[in-house]
């Protein structure tokens, strides 16, 4: 049995129904906890967000959830840009795109965001954009990470990052 394919089929259907039930933006906001538990039993540390993200990325790669992955913080400290290739969830993103829904939930981004919140006491995070290239197997995730209230509203042009 291909348990990953089975899991992706379940996720695809859940996300399709979620989108239908809640509409695009609401669905995206609602799924912030999906995947957030995965790294909680690891003692991942980091003195800075860059260190913590790097350590999360190494853990995720070692577990085989993704073949290649990098995380970069920019955008005046608000943007966490994740590049990955060969994610085990890519098939469900492809199915979503085929059904006319832009991918909106990345469990891997959510598990890193949870670590940022719990280990570095960030106030909140928001997965803002997912770009999935099914031909190359690559994904680009834009996560907004907010350390405190003052970081809300700190804007820059993320297309230049």
């Amino acid at each position: 049995m291909d348990t990953i394919a089975y899991t992706n089929d379940l996720l695809y259907r859940f996300e399709e129904i979620f989108f239908h039930e809640l509409s695009q933006i609401n669905a995206r906001c609602k799924v912030e906890l999906v995947g957030s538990d995965y790294l909680n039993d690891r003692n991942i540390q980091g003195n800075t967000i860059e260190e913590l993200v790097e350590n999360c990325v190494q853990e995720i790669k070692m577990d085989g959830l993704v073949q290649e992955m990098t995380g970069k913080v920019g955008g005046k400290g608000i943007l966490l840009k994740l590049n990955m290739k060969g994610c085990i969830h890519l098939p469900k993103e492809v199915k979503l795109k085929e059904s006319g829904i832009d991918p909106y939930m990345c469990p891997l981004a959510n598990m890193i965001s949870e670590q940022i919140i719990t280990k570095l006491n960030y106030m909140t995070t928001y997965s803002a954009g997912l770009e999935v290239n099914e031909k190359t197997g690559e994904c680009l995730i834009y996560c907004a990470v907010y350390k405190d209230m003052d970081s809300i509203g700190v804007v820059s042009d993320w297309s230049k990052e």
């Binding site: 906001c29 912030e32 909140t124 928001y126 954009g129 907004a144 907010y146 809300i152 509203g153 042009d157």
Partner: protein, 218 residues
């Protein structure tokens, strides 16, 4: 019987209030209107936490600001805030966009004399979100008919983490299985009229006759 369409069509979402308190009689009438909303199987799953305490309202306002601002900031940075393109003056567009992405657009419950937090039971229920929505609509229409202003705020309620914080603040059980928090309704005496009254689409844009896409009245 008076035509309720006059009440419905003259209502606006009011986000600026005077400091004048709302009488208990008026609060009771708003609750009474909500109480008569339709609900699936007449289950009436709603509970309303009526918040007057200024400190609690400020904390709710802060969480509303975070809810809108965390998404608004990201949308702006990604160039996805096209909704503000309706403003032709670049300076005005920038001002309105900043008001939105800073989250300040949603801070107003802090300044409302009354904040009504709408939650609903889930276990054994058929249609909790829709039942709560009907109750909110009844409440804001009654508020309007009393001369009050109200605004339905859903933004912060879409994030599970923010919902948990609001539930903790108000002593609501925090489990996702316990109660759904659907929205916050801020209510108060209007401070002036809205500077940008929102229009509505013409019915011809969304009414279909007999089958989807057929715009010719049957």
């Amino acid at each position: 019987m008076a035509d309720i369409l006059d009440v419905i069509s003259s209502r606006q979402s009011i986000r600026k209030y005077t400091d004048e308190p709302i009488s208990d009689e008026m609060i009771d009438k708003i609750v009474e209107a909500a109480r008569w909303a339709p609900s699936g199987e007449n289950e009436q799953p709603w509970h309303f936490i009526m918040v007057k305490d200024p400190e609690t309202r400020k904390k709710i306002g802060d969480l509303c600001k975070v809810g809108t601002g965390q998404r608004g900031t990201a949308e702006h940075c990604l160039g996805e805030d096209h909704r503000f393109d309706v403003y032709e003056d670049p300076a005005e567009r920038a001002r309105v966009a900043e008001f939105y992405y800073s989250g300040m657009v949603s801070y107003f419950p802090a300044n409302a004399p009354l904040v009504m937090v709408v939650i609903g039971e889930l276990k054994g229920m058929m249609d909790t979100p829709y039942d709560l929505s009907a109750a909110i609509e009844n409440a804001i229409l009654e508020a309007h008919s009393l001369g009050l202003g109200a605004c339905w705020v859903h933004g912060p309620a879409v994030y599970p983490r923010i919902v948990k914080k609001i539930k903790e603040l108000l002593g609501i059980p925090t489990g996702l299985a316990d109660y759904k928090m659907l929205a916050i309704v801020s209510i108060g005496w209007p401070s002036g009229r809205r500077s940008h009254p929102q229009g509505r689409k013409d019915a011809s844009e969304f009414v279909h006759w007999e089958k989807f896409g057929n715009k010719k009245r049957s």
